[in-house]
């Protein structure tokens, strides 16, 4: 669930990289990702993870000396995960300071860190005018995430439409989605090139727009092609999540229990428990 949800959010990935030491391991010693040291450390924090049958483990925030300071569910939404990361840093500020050399980075990189930490005023103050085009693009993203869609559109409208064509396509597509205008969303996202850096994200949300336009089979085909083309990309996982919760006729019936039997998802997963893909719920138009 983390891969299909929170790990598609650059703020969460950015915070994990810049303010934490992220590590994962498989509790099973048979797995190539097994790690006996990690398992010993974690089962001291959470003894219930030491058995032969375990609950789905959360993500744990701990000191190197073994003090558990927080956790977030494996099924957390992006909003919940972001809040958990920010909260544990706020409550344990000795671990939250900037890294050596961080303040010498370009101001856009520093502004991103402020934004990841939820300090948008600080980010905006850093990016005082005159701004580069990339800084303006980031300002538009800050505005979109804050729900200031008119301002986001205004800033995007002033960007070079050729140099930033792909970013403009995605950003206007996401703004249209936030407004519940899925027709515009589809048109905008269809303009993103296959070669662009945000192509997986654009293809995923293009599928979402098709789904909300009632073109369920076309939406699922878009997600299937995305998974085939981009493999382990986070938006492949998000597409896999959407695919399993839909049919060619619309939303799929909700699973009543978890099972490792039966068909797997396109990415070979047993299922996606815990919550519905939020993108399948249309925003109010």
């Amino acid at each position: 669930m983390l891969r299909s949800g929170p790990f598609t959010d650059e703020r969460i990935v950015g915070l994990l990289n810049e303010r934490f030491i992220p590590v994962y391991f498989d509790l099973s010693p048979k797995s190539p990702a097994g790690d006996a040291d990690a398992k010993e450390f974690v089962t001291k924090l959470k003894p219930e993870l030491g058995g032969s049958r375990v609950p789905t483990p959360p993500i744990l925030f701990a000191t190197a000396d073994g003090a558990l300071l927080g956790e977030a569910s494996n099924y957390a939404s992006e909003r919940e995960m972001l809040a958990a990361l920010r909260d544990v840093l706020r409550q344990n500020s000795k671990y939250a300071g900037p890294s050596d050399g961080e303040e010498r980075r370009p101001r856009l990189a520093r502004a991103r860190t402020h934004h990841y930490l939820g300090k948008d005023k600080g980010a905006i103050a850093l990016l005082s005018e005159p701004r580069t085009a990339h800084e303006n693009l980031f300002m538009a993203q800050i505005a979109r995430r804050a729900g200031d869609l008119d301002n986001a559109e205004k800033i995007l409208g002033e960007l070079d439409s050729n140099a930033f064509a792909d970013d403009i396509a995605v950003e206007f597509g996401l703004i249209a989605f936030a407004r519940g205008d899925v027709k515009t969303m589809r048109v905008r996202l269809a303009a993103h090139s296959e070669e662009g850096a945000r192509a997986p994200e654009a293809r995923y949300f293009l599928g979402v727009s098709l789904f909300h336009l009632g073109q369920h089979a076309e939406a699922r085909l878009a997600w299937k092609e995305l998974i085939g083309k981009y493999g382990e990309h986070p938006f492949s996982y998000r597409a896999d999540w959407a695919y399993t919760q839909t049919t060619d006729n619309g939303p799929a019936a909700e699973p009543t229990s978890f099972t490792t039997q039966g068909p797997k998802s396109l990415l070979g997963r047993h299922g996606y428990m815990g919550r519905k893909n939020p993108d399948l719920t249309r925003r109010p138009g």
Partner: protein, 63 residues
């Protein structure tokens, strides 16, 4: 049901299997193995963000 229970296998790790982190495309800079992560957390004054996985990691997918 939010809590899925899975049986964990207790067979020894196959050293021939490559760690699936090489497939990871999240952009997260995973610190592996754990003792390296722990050492870095100490040196850099950071918290560990530890994700134990119970669903299984395979050579064809991270988790």
């Amino acid at each position: 049901m939010l809590m899925a229970t899975l049986a964990l296998l207790s067979l020894p790790q196959d050293p021939a299997l490559e760690h699936p982190v090489h497939l990871d495309r999240t952009g997260i800079e995973w610190a592996l193995p754990f003792e390296t992560a722990r050492k870095r957390a100490r040196e850099e004054g950071r918290l560990l963000a530890i994700k134990p996985v119970a669903f299984g990691t395979t050579v064809t997918g991270c988790w």
